[in-house]
C-alpha cells in the first residue's frame, strides 16, 4: 500500500520540487536586486497605458515601489512551497485522509484569496505612484482567473477526499 501511495503524487512531486528550488533561488536574488534598485534607481511604473518615471522620488515612493513586483513573486513562491508541503504530507499519510482533505481545502483557499489580493496590491501600488485616472487601478488589475478556478476546484476536491476518508474508515472498520 505504501509503495502505491508514493507513486500517486509522483510525477507532480518531482516537478514541484525542481520548480520550487529554482523559484526560491530566483526570489531571494530578485528581492536583493529589487531592494538595491529601490534605493538607488529612479522609480518607474509601467501600467496598462503608459510608462512613468519619477525623478528624485521621496522615501515613501521608494518604499511603495517595493510593492510593484514583490507581492505576486512572494505569493507564487509561497504557493509552490505550500504545494510541496501538501504533497509530502499526502505521500506520508495517504490521500484518503481527513488531514490531507483539510490541507487541500486550505491550499484552495490560499489560491482563491492570496493570488487575487497580491495582484490587486500591485495594481494599487502602480495607481498610488502614478494615477492614470480615478479608480483606474481596477482596469489595471491583472486578475488571476486560473488561481480562482483552481482554488474552487481544490475546494471541491477536498470534499471528495473527505468522502474517500470516510469510505476508508468504513472499510477498515468492516475488516
Amino acid at each position: 500500500m505504501s509503495s502505491t501511495r508514493g507513486n500517486q503524487v509522483q510525477p507532480l512531486l518531482g516537478v514541484v520540487t525542481a520548480i520550487t528550488g529554482i523559484a526560491v533561488f530566483t526570489l531571494v536574488s530578485g528581492l536583493f536586486v529589487t531592494v538595491l534598485d529601490a534605493l538607488r534607481k529612479p522609480v518607474c511604473v509601467r501600467d496598462s497605458w503608459r510608462e512613468t518615471c519619477i525623478e528624485g522620488p521621496t522615501g515613501g515612493e521608494r518604499a511603495l515601489s517595493l510593492l510593484l513586483h514583490t507581492p505576486t513573486a512572494v505569493v507564487h513562491v509561497g504557493a509552490l512551497l505550500l504545494l510541496l508541503v501538501l504533497l509530502v504530507r499526502a505521500q506520508r499519510l495517504g490521500p484518503h485522509n481527513v488531514h490531507t482533505a483539510a490541507d487541500v481545502r486550505g491550499y484552495g483557499l490560499y489560491l482563491l484569496i492570496a493570488l487575487p489580493v497580491s495582484t490587486l496590491v500591485e495594481a494599487l501600488a502602480r495607481w498610488l505612484l502614478a494615477p492614470y485616472d480615478t479608480f483606474s487601478f481596477v482596469g489595471d488589475w491583472d486578475f488571476p482567473w486560473w488561481a480562482v478556478l483552481t482554488g474552487l476546484g481544490l475546494l471541491s476536491l477536498a470534499k471528495v477526499l473527505d468522502a474517500g476518508a470516510e469510505m476508508r474508515a468504513e472499510l477498515e472498520a468492516t475488516v
Binding site: H96, T150, L171, T174
Partner: protein, 195 residues
C-alpha cells in the same frame, strides 16, 4: 459535492464560447475591411524607434502594436493563428471540465471512468495549452518578420512564447489526482463487495 465548482465551470464555458464566437466574427469583419493588427512583446523605447516597422503602429508599455495596411491571404492566416488557438483551447478546457464534472456528479467521483477522464483532462492541459501558445508565438513571429525592415529587430519565437505554467502544474496535479481516484474506486468496489 462538486457544486460551487460545476456552476462556475458551466458559466465560464458559456462566457468563453460566446467570446470565441464574437472573436471569430470580429476576425472575419477585419479580414473583410483589410486591416490586420497584432501586438509583439518587443518594447520599443520611443516613438522614433518605430522606424524598423514598415507600417507604423502604436507603442504600448507591454509591447508594440503593428498594423498591416494591405495584408495578403497568408498574412490573414497568420493573423488568425496569432490569437485564435488559445481562445479555442480555453473554450475547449471549460467544455471538457463541464463534461467531466457532469459525468462525475451523475456516475460518482470514485469510479474508474472518472479517473480515466481526469487523466485525459490532465494530458490536455499539459500538452494542448502550451502547444497553442507556441503556435501563436510562431504566427506572431512570422507576421513580425513580414513587417520589420531590419533583421536586427526580428524577434525570437521563444521570447514571444507565453508558456502557461499554471496549465502545466494543474495538468500534472490532475494526473496525480487520477491515480488517487483510481485507488479510491478500487477501495469502493472492495467496500461494496464486503457489504
Amino acid at each position: 459535492m462538486l457544486q460551487p465548482f460545476t456552476r462556475v465551470a458551466r458559466f465560464l464555458w458559456a462566457v468563453t464560447a460566446v467570446g470565441f464566437a464574437f472573436g471569430a466574427l470580429r476576425q472575419l469583419y477585419q479580414s473583410l475591411t483589410y486591416e490586420l493588427c497584432f501586438t509583439t512583446s518587443r518594447v520599443l523605447g520611443a516613438v522614433d524607434d518605430l522606424g524598423p516597422y514598415r507600417n507604423v503602429g502604436r507603442t504600448h508599455p507591454t509591447g508594440t502594436r503593428v498594423c498591416l495596411a494591405e495584408p495578403t491571404g497568408w498574412d490573414q492566416v497568420l493573423g488568425f493563428l496569432e490569437h485564435a488557438p488559445s481562445a479555442f483551447a480555453t473554450a475547449g478546457t471549460f467544455l471538457l471540465l463541464v463534461l467531466l464534472l457532469e459525468h462525475a456528479s451523475r456516475r460518482g467521483v470514485h469510479t474508474v471512468e472518472t479517473a480515466d477522464r481526469l487523466r485525459r483532462f490532465g494530458w490536455y492541459l499539459l500538452l494542448a495549452l502550451p502547444a497553442t501558445t507556441l503556435v501563436e508565438a510562431l504566427a506572431r513571429t512570422g507576421l513580425q518578420r513580414r513587417t520589420v525592415v531590419t533583421p536586427a529587430h526580428r524577434v525570437d519565437p521563444l521570447t514571444e512564447w507565453d508558456v502557461p505554467w499554471w496549465a502545466v502544474v494543474v495538468g500534472l496535479g490532475l494526473l496525480s489526482l487520477a491515480k488517487v481516484v483510481r485507488s479510491s474506486a478500487a477501495m469502493r468496489e472492495e467496500l461494496e463487495g464486503t457489504v
